[in-house]
Symmetry: C2
Subunit: 159 residues, 2 copies
Amino acid sequence: MSADNALLTKAMDVFRQKLESRGLRKTPERFAILREIYSSEGHLDVDNLYEHMLRNDYRVSRATVYNTLELLVEFDLVKKQRFDNNLTLFEKSLGYKQHDHVICTRCGAVQEFCDPRIHHTKAMVAEIFGYAIQRHSLNIFGLCPECRQKEKASSADTE
Amino acid sequence: MSADNALLTKAMDVFRQKLESRGLRKTPERFAILREIYSSEGHLDVDNLYEHMLRNDYRVSRATVYNTLELLVEFDLVKKQRFDNNLTLFEKSLGYKQHDHVICTRCGAVQEFCDPRIHHTKAMVAEIFGYAIQRHSLNIFGLCPECRQKEKASSADTE
DNA sequence: ATCCCTGCAAAGGGTTTGCAGACGC
DNA sequence: GCGTCTGCAAACCCTTTGCAGGGAT
C-alpha cells in the first residue's frame, strides 16, 4: 500500500507540474479523479470510476470525468484501452512498464504480459514504411483456463 | 478483377454452406452485403457500406447490415477492426493471410503488414497463461512519411 | 476580479431492439 | 403456411456540448 501511495504521490506531482506548465487549473476534482485511478488495480471504465467516486469520496460530474481523463491520457499518466466489447477502459500508467493484454472472450478477464519481440516488429514497420512510430496496441483473445473447463463441461452436457 | 470475382464466388459458397448448416435463411440481402464487401478494397465502416449499397445495387436497412455483419464475422468471412478513432471497420478476410495494421495518427491512413513473430508471442501466452488462443489484434500507430514531412514543415513555420 | 472549470441537462452518433409485414423454406 | 428475416423507427448507451454559476489564480 505504501508503494502505491508513493506512486500516487508521484503521479500527483507530475500532474501538478504538467497542469502548471500548461496554465491549467489545479482543481480538487482533477486530483480526486487521479487519486481514484491510482488507488484502483487493473482496468476501469468511466462508469466504474464515476460510481467509485460517488461511494468513496467525491462527487464529480461525468463531464468532468471525461474532461480529466483526456488530460491524464495526454500527460501519459493514464492509458486508454479499447478492447472488442464496445468498452473503453483506463489504467494507471506511471511506473508501469509497457505491457499488452490477453482477454478472455467468454468471461472478459484481462491479464497483462510483456514480450520484447514487439519492439522488433515496430522497428521493422518503421523501416519498411518510413513511419515515425508512436505506440502500439496488442491484444490477444482466447479462452482462459477456467472458461476452457466450462466450455468442455457444457459441450459434454449436450452430447 | 476476375480473381476478385473468384474470391467472391468462393465467399458466397462458404456463406451458403454455413447458413445452411445453421438452418439460417439465404436471403438476397445477406448475399448483397457479402458482395459489397468483397467488391471493395480495404476497410469499410457500416456507413460506407450502407451508402455504397444504396448507390450501387441494393436497398437494405441498417439493422440488416449490422445483423449480417455479425454473421459474417462469426463465419470468418469478414474481419472486424477497431482502431482508436471510435470507428469500427470491416474487411474481407477469405483468402487473405493474417495481417496487422499500421495507422497514421494524423491522416488516418491504414497499411497492412505481416510479421510471423506474433505467432511466437501467441504461443508464449498460451503456454504461460493456459489460454486457448483464438485471435489477436495488433495495431501500430505513428506518423506516415507524408505526415512526417508536413509536421516538420508546420513546426518550421512556427519558429 | 478574471475567466477557466464544473455541473447539469440536452444533444449527438453509432448500435440495438421491438414489432409488423414479407418471404425463404 | 410456418417461422425467420427485414425494414422502420424508437430506444439505448456512451460521449460530447452549451450554458450558467462557482472557484482557482
